[in-house]
């Protein structure tokens, strides 16, 4: 996954792109068979021991989900950790240092 985190006026802006098919379970493949549902259900971000972001997603979120949020109380150089789990129990994780703007 790709994460961009930057801080300006004490507000940290986070943007992320998570490679994931986000299959709705309602799409048919070329042979006409239904592709089983497979989508990210939860995304969590932590910084300095605090959970600063928690989202629940459904199959209505676009393929390769893009998520953006803002939070307070971090400083440049702090690490932001992001993790996700999906409907099959698979998971992923990424990290980024918060850059000064």
């Amino acid at each position: 996954m790709k994460i961009k985190a930057s801080i300006q006026n004490n507000v940290t802006s986070v943007k992320m792109l998570i490679p994931h098919p986000m299959e709705t379970g309602r799409r048919k493949d070329q042979s006409g068979a239904l592709v089983p549902a497979h989508f990210i259900t939860e995304v969590t971000a932590t910084c300095g021991g605090d959970t600063v972001f928690h989202a629940e997603l459904g199959p209505g979120v676009s393929k390769d989900p893009y998520l953006s949020f803002q939070f307070d109380g971090a400083k440049a150089g702090d690490m932001l950790s992001v993790s996700w789990v999906d409907s099959k129990g698979e998971s992923g994780k990424g990290e980024a240092a918060i850059a000064a703007m």
Binding site: M1, A5, F53, S62, P65, V85, G94
Partner: protein
């Protein structure tokens, strides 16, 4: 417009890390996913499953930034923000989708009630945002027209 590669943050996504996360990830996190709300097929049922049945007040303090005409229903950029004090959750619904609940964001203490993401829209429909604050529910609605792509490349 060019984004320098140097601006990209260092990312770690090794398989070892993934395994570690999987084992660290408490089962409660998975169980917590609001399955009833996400699998509901009707808007009202999805809202009720998410928040319980209670009155919803229309609010102008919720802003939905979304295109008037979506370039493509597979990637509709949406930004949701609110000035309602004490908001703890922002959820986005669209009634025309098979599952109306699209995403639900908890507004944690350090977080701003301001999120962006990209959603799928099956056809022209409303984007409905419910904000939860102090046990009350607030709602804003915005229509997005969805057309089918063709000669725009």
């Amino acid at each position: 417009m060019g984004i320098s590669r140097r601006d990209f943050c260092r990312t770690v996504a090794g398989s070892a890390a993934s395994v570690a996360v999987l084992s660290m990830m408490p089962g409660t996190l998975l169980a917590k996913w609001s399955d009833k709300a996400f699998t509901a097929n009707e808007l009202d049922a999805a809202i009720a499953a998410k928040y319980g049945s209670q009155p919803i007040e229309d609010s102008t303090a919720i802003e939905i930034k979304a295109p008037e005409i979506a370039e493509n229903g597979a990637f509709v950029p949406v930004t949701v923000s609110t000035t309602i004090p004490g908001v703890t959750n922002l959820s986005i619904f669209t009634p025309a989708n098979f599952n109306p609940l699209v995403a639900s964001f908890d507004v944690l203490p350090r977080m701003k009630p301001d999120v962006s993401f990209r959603m799928r829209m099956a056809k022209t429909s409303n984007v409905i945002v419910i904000a939860q604050a102090g046990g009350k529910l607030y709602r804003a609605t915005r229509e997005v027209k969805v057309t089918i792509g063709g000669c725009g490349g």
